[in-house]
């Protein structure tokens, strides 16, 4: 079975702390991502990605590594696949200050090539990161994001 991986990068004019908070604070993620990321973000803890209006959990996993505000690694699976370890994928967020900008690198790996998750994140991450950048720089999420919900 081939495993695939993706590396997405965006540069944001903000601080490392604000980027880390924008990933881990459900009150913020719901504004630009449409979902709440919920956890205490300690290694070994569970985390959930849930719909704020219905409470339905779409994605979940475990916090694998947490070094605020520079690095966060989580496992990532559809809630419906949570019991199947083979369906677990992994996401690493690396946050690095470069001059007056912050470089956010999202590495999504352990993906089963051609799987539903493989296809979903291919479209999802560019939109989420674009929306996060706009939100952190202007205080507003992307219009298309707001319209999607």
């Amino acid at each position: 079975m081939t495993k695939s991986s993706f590396v997405y990068v965006t540069y944001i004019r903000t601080t490392e702390e604000k980027v880390f908070q924008a990933i881990t604070d459900g009150g913020i993620t719901r504004q630009y991502w449409g979902y709440e990321n919920v956890s205490d973000w300690k290694p070994g803890s569970d985390w959930k990605h849930r719909d704020p209006s219905t409470g339905t959990v779409r994605i979940l996993g475990e916090v694998l590594e947490s070094r605020p505000p520079h690095r966060l690694v989580i496992s990532w699976a559809f809630a419906s696949d949570s019991s199947n370890r083979a369906k677990r994928t992994r996401v690493a967020f690396d946050i690095q200050k470069i001059d007056d900008m912050v470089k956010l690198t999202v590495t999504h790996d352990e993906l089963e090539h051609g799987s539903e998750m493989d296809r979903a994140i291919h479209e999802g991450w560019p939109r989420v990161l674009s929306s996060m950048k706009t939100f952190l720089e202007t205080g507003k999420p992307l219009d298309t994001w707001a319209g999607k919900k």
């Binding site: 695939s4 991986s5 993706f6 590396v7 997405y8 990068v9 965006t10 540069y11 004019r13 690198t105 590495t107 991450w125 560019p126 939109r127 990161l129 674009s130 950048k133 706009t134 720089e137 202007t138 992307l142 219009d143 298309t144």
Partner: protein, 116 residues
């Protein structure tokens, strides 16, 4: 002032992206990465008739425009297509112009359904 700075810098970002996309060899490199992500310089050179040095230069420009992201696997540098700036451009140049049309369609649907 902050908003002003923001507009200027996002214009610079977009400028780099459009400039990087203006060259057919660089578009070909993006196509190669789209077909297979995470390739080394050597793998990319196999599919394009250009010197290794020219490919390195083109990849450098693509990386500077943030259209290509890289990661190291041991001593190998792997190249990935990074579509995030393309999404920013989609938002800036396409979605905005699509919206009025979608709105018109929604209005039409509402009207027809109200009549029916």
């Amino acid at each position: 002032m902050q908003a002003f700075t923001c507009i200027i810098s996002s214009t610079t970002d977009a400028h780099k992206v459009f400039k990087a996309l203006s060259d057919p060899s660089r578009r070909k490199l993006l196509d190669l990465l789209c077909a297979k992500d995470g390739q080394t310089l050597g793998e990319l050179c196999e599919h394009i008739s250009m010197s290794r040095q020219a490919v390195t230069q083109h990849l450098g420009l693509l990386e500077e425009a943030n259209l290509v992201s890289t990661t190291w696997r041991g001593r190998e540098k792997l190249h990935f297509l990074n579509p995030v700036p393309l999404y920013d451009i989609y938002e800036r140049w396409i979605a905005k112009f699509e919206r009025p049309r979608l709105k018109a369609l929604r209005e039409l649907k509402r009207k027809l359904e109200a009549e029916g």
